[in-house]
């Protein structure tokens, strides 16, 4: 059964230095507030997993929380590069960052395999590309057809963190709109934290909703606005201007560090 905790408590209880942590959200419901709490609690040596690392991963990397990134597309959508990610990869600042790089299909299959308690997922793909020599992908032979396919090792993060619109008082979670790989992330992870926009008396069934029963979640934290500057369908829109502004903020190490001090480290979270 999920415990209702503050975000600070949840991160303190469930995330340890050196953990493999997946904060997922595919363009929607990105758990920014939870990422900021990891930064404030100065977690180190994390292996960060995410299909589409964007601003909050740039922040975690720039603040030195990560030693490794497992990903398939790392950019500022519609804007350009992630400068902190690039600085870590190209110049080792503030610490070197190891990359394990996949395609989206490979990442999705790895999460799905993890959720299904399988050691690997199978995809058509990777063949003929330079990816296999730089990532954890192997060949598997179909025992019926003899055909060769790509196998990706299952993702089994220590901690999965997602943001949702609602939870009820028992800790059952509901999210809707673009659902990404959030269900798989929670189910594949040994522990899970869900931040939500609000706690409600009862979850009303909705078209396209994903429900995570309380008994597959460890901690639920009420963090209104916890996905900003990304969006929460039905609650608030994406702050597109901030995505554009991040390009300038993050380009320079000092500007970045100052911004983080002022906007993340100084913030006291309930």
């Amino acid at each position: 059964m999920a415990e209702l905790l503050t975000l600070a408590e949840a991160v303190s209880q469930h995330v340890r230095d050196g953990d493999v942590v997946a904060l997922e959200g595919f363009t929607h419901l990105i758990p920014h507030a939870a990422g900021h709490e990891l930064i404030r609690q100065r977690r180190r040596e994390l292996t960060l997993v995410r299909m589409t690392p964007d601003i909050v991963y740039d922040q975690l990397i720039g603040m030195g929380c990560a030693r490794k990134l497992v990903f398939s597309w790392g950019g500022n959508p519609g804007v350009g590069s992630l400068h902190r990610l690039r600085d870590a990869v190209e110049h080792g600042w503030p610490v070197p960052l190891e990359l394990e790089e996949h395609s989206h299909a490979g990442m999705a299959a790895a999460y799905a395999a993890g959720a299904a308690n399988l050691p690997f997922g199978v995809v058509r793909g990777y063949v003929g590309t330079d990816l296999p020599s730089h990532t954890r992908v192997r060949r598997v032979t179909c025992p019926f057809t003899g055909g060769e396919l790509a196998a990706v090792a299952a993702h089994r993060p220590d901690v999965g963190i997602v943001h949702a619109q609602q939870a009820d008082r028992s800790g059952n979670v509901q999210l809707w709109g673009i659902a990404g790989v959030q269900k798989e992330t929670v189910l594949a992870s040994a522990r899970s934290i869900v931040t939500v926009e609000e706690i409600v008396d009862g979850l009303e069934p909705r078209p396209g909703a994903v429900v995570l029963p309380s008994w597959v979640v460890d901690a639920v934290c009420c963090v209104p606005g916890g996905a900003r500057p990304s969006y929460a369908h039905g609650y608030y829109e994406r702050d597109n201007e901030f995505y554009v502004a991040w390009d300038a903020i993050s380009r320079d190490r000092d500007t970045f560090s100052e911004w983080m001090r002022e906007h993340v480290l100084a913030e006291v979270h309930a």
């Binding site: 589409t52 690039r86 190209e90 590309t129 709109g177 673009i178």
Partner: protein, 232 residues
């Protein structure tokens, strides 16, 4: 209405190649512009599939991200990302997929991973994302890419997506199509020339004997295109 930008010419040239009823796997930027333009002109039955899981999205304005809320609201169905890549893309249900890249070679192979050496890169690019599987999962790949020597290269720094299914490359200068296994210039846009396209290509570019000149955007196309952009 006769003046238009190179990007507008690219979007129009790409849109024209989409037949009505085509199921398109669309990314943000020019591909999304082209597919939405096709829907508003000659191909109203064109089906837009975004990798965020929205199937049959009918946005009124151009989405700023593939996860734009309007895509989910107007879609026929919203599926999870594993389902999108498994049942829909790998499932072989998509007719056309659009790709961009930082580099392309004469075989249509694409690099969107890294410039320079992988382990000590000159420029670390965002990475493949859905491109490797789009390149092998759809029937026809359309590449949209601005023409420049640093992009049209003799040798890729990294092969992210294979070029086997690339049917057309639309650039700001013209159109390339595979002929005899190699990308060949088959059309130039009105504001460009064969010479300019050759100059902007890092290999010795083949030119089709019957190289065409693209029709400039029509008034209808430009109006539809600008209406989309104004709404966004």
């Amino acid at each position: 209405m006769s003046s238009y930008t190179a990007d507008e010419m690219m979007a129009v040239a790409a849109a024209r190649r989409l037949r009505d009823g085509t199921v398109c796997f669309v990314g943000i930027g020019l591909p999304s512009v082209a597919a939405n333009l096709a829907r508003r002109t000659h191909a109203p039955g064109c089906v837009l599939v975004y990798e965020s899981g929205t199937i049959g999205a009918k946005p009124q304005r151009l989405p700023l991200s593939i996860g734009d809320g309007e895509l989910a609201e107007t879609a026929d169905a919203v599926v999870s990302v594993p389902e999108m890549f498994g049942y829909w893309l790998q499932g072989g249900r998509i007719d056309v997929g659009f790709l961009g890249a930082a580099q392309i070679d004469r075989f249509g192979n694409l690099n969107s991973t890294v410039i320079g050496d992988y382990d000590s890169p000159t420029v670390r690019l965002p990475g493949g994302g859905g491109a490797p599987e789009i390149a092998t999962g759809v029937r026809d790949v359309f590449v949209l890419l601005r023409h420049a020597r640093r992009a049209f290269v003799e040798q890729l720094d990294f092969l992210t997506s294979v070029g086997d299914r690339v049917r057309v490359v639309v650039t700001d200068l013209g159109v390339l199509e595979p002929r005899g296994g190699e990308l060949t210039l088959t059309a130039v846009h009105p504001s460009s020339s064969v010479e300019e396209a050759r100059e902007a290509t890092g290999w010795d570019l083949r030119v089709a004997d019957d190289v065409q000149v693209s029709d400039p955007p029509t008034t209808r196309e430009l109006l539809a295109l600008r209406a989309l952009e104004v709404a966004a």
